[in-house]
């Protein structure tokens, strides 16, 4: 905790703000003009070895290959499903990317409109055409439980430093929690504890930038969770 004070102050930047004029590399959400680096979005200045960039505070989720996402089936075709993964682009899930043997035109027997699925982003090409897959360990259709939606920029806070926050939520509530990079979170557990976790996650989203969040979430959960440990 003392380490925090030693770190440089986090700086709020707006689009067009000068980030660096010493010839640093251009990081994420930044652009270059005349050798200087400027911010392209509203966020917190972020200096990494890879370059000077910005951590956005808002914005749409942009899929990246390898991301674990939670999607809902939007539309069914004879050889694919269209999945809404909260991105600016539609994400088709082809029959070759599901763990079942699906006959042509038989897609609706496996997944239907409104079904929620756990997926991985397979690829995003130059023109932002997305492909998703269900062929990987743990990927499946999700049944039961509840779905919470938060801004994707707050996902890293829900997970916490090397998973500290999510681990605490899981341990304290005894719920199964799956966090999609697109900001959708699936919680499966006892009615009351699942609701407490959902509220806790909403609280994390709202207070994402504040101090000692993990501690306060812990207190919050202690109050909210039904006392059962005997």
């Amino acid at each position: 905790m003392e380490r925090r004070n030693a770190k440089p102050k986090r700086e709020l930047v707006l689009p067009g703000d000068l980030l660096d004029s010493t010839g640093a590399k251009v990081g994420e959400y930044a652009y270059e003009r005349d050798g200087n680096v400027y911010a392209a979005v509203l966020g917190i200045k972020n200096v990494t070895p890879a370059g000077v960039g910005v951590i956005p505070l808002h914005g749409q989720y942009m899929p990246v290959a390898g991301d674990l996402v939670i999607g809902t089936i939007n539309d069914i075709g004879p050889s694919n499903w269209m999945v809404d993964i909260n991105a600016p682009y539609p994400a088709p899930l082809h029959v070759s990317e599901v763990p079942w043997k699906v006959e042509f035109g038989d897609t609706s027997r496996f997944l239907n409109i409104g079904d929620v699925v756990l997926l991985k982003v397979l690829s995003v090409d130059e023109s932002k055409k997305i492909q998703v897959t269900m062929n990987d360990a743990g990927l499946r259709k999700i049944e039961g439980g509840m779905l919470v939606e938060i801004s994707h920029t707050k996902v890293s806070r829900v997970i916490g430093k090397s998973g500290s926050m999510i681990q605490m939520l899981k341990n304290m509530s005894d719920c199964r929690i799956t966090v999609g990079q697109n900001g959708r979170i699936w919680i499966d557990g006892e009615g009351e504890s699942a609701e407490a976790v959902a509220d806790a996650i909403k609280m994390i989203e709202e207070e994402a930038q504040s101090h000692n969040l993990t501690e306060r979430i812990k207190e919050f959960l202690e109050k909210r969770l039904p006392a059962e440990e005997e």
């Binding site: 925090r4 067009g16 979005v41 509203l42 808002h58 000692n212």
Partner: protein
């Protein structure tokens, strides 16, 4: 521009009817993030103008034929409420609102990094709640704050303001009387970091010298508006910034 009046718009001391000098703009109030359901929003008051802007996106582009395979399109809709002017304005799209939607979208295309989102659309809605001359500038000012609030990557925030000529004087930020009975109106929007002009129109007549003077007045004022825009965005996130924690 068209009407005639016996009203003295600028008195002998160089004072205007609302008590401003020639180089003063009306009081400006900007607030970011006022709407919950839009991805980004802003509310702007410039004098008696009251403007609300909301932004959605980037999202899938509908109708499909407007999609651009290389970049995002900016779809802008400028709309005046029926109660925004003293006579009831007939609701709906008209020639004027189509024009303003177009010029606003084109001004914003210069700053938004549209190439990051091919085939997508960024939708900007501008609602004029109360009009008192200069709503296109107020609308653009609000729209660019709303875009930044929505977290859309852009090179800079665009401020806009008008200059003009009334009673033979070059004036900044015309109000309704000056606009109606004046000789010229020149709205300007620019990219503050490079001083690139992204919107310039002129309605009426001016000499070259008057025009140059109007431009320099408006450019200076744009930088003042720019500071207010940044201020509004910073205010919205100030609390969070102070408490900012450094993990992840």
């Amino acid at each position: 521009m068209s009407g005639h009046t016996d009203m003295v718009l600028v008195d002998d001391n160089g004072m205007r009817i609302d008590g401003r000098t020639a180089t003063e703009h009306r009081p400006i109030k900007i607030e970011a993030g006022v709407l919950k359901n839009a991805d980004g929003s802003a509310y702007v008051e410039i004098g008696k103008n009251k403007v609300l802007a909301a932004v959605y996106g980037p999202r899938e582009c509908h109708p499909r034929h407007l999609q651009d395979p290389n970049k995002a399109v900016i779809q802008c809709k400028y709309n005046m409420q029926a109660f925004s002017v003293s006579d009831r304005k007939r609701p709906g799209t008209d020639r004027r609102s189509i024009e303003i939607s177009k010029i606003t979208a084109e001004a914003l295309e210069n700053v938004v990094l549209t190439e990051l989102y091919p085939r997508a659309s960024i939708d900007v809605y501008i609602e004029i709640l109360q009009a008192n001359a200069g709503t296109r500038c107020a609308g653009l000012t609000a729209a660019s704050v709303a875009l930044a609030d929505a977290g859309i990557p852009m090179r800079d925030i665009v401020p806009a303001i008008a200059a003009g000529k009334a009673d033979g004087h070059v004036l900044l930020d015309l109000n309704k009387e000056e606009d109606n009975y004046g000789q010229a109106d020149v709205p300007i929007a620019l990219v503050p970091s490079t001083d690139e002009i992204v919107l310039l129109q002129m309605d009426g007549n001016m000499t070259r010298e008057e025009f140059d003077r109007a431009i320099s007045l408006a450019v200076n004022a744009c930088h003042e508006v720019y500071d207010l825009q940044k201020d509004a965005l910073k205010r919205r996130y100030a609390v969070k910034k102070e408490e900012a924690e450094s993990d992840e």
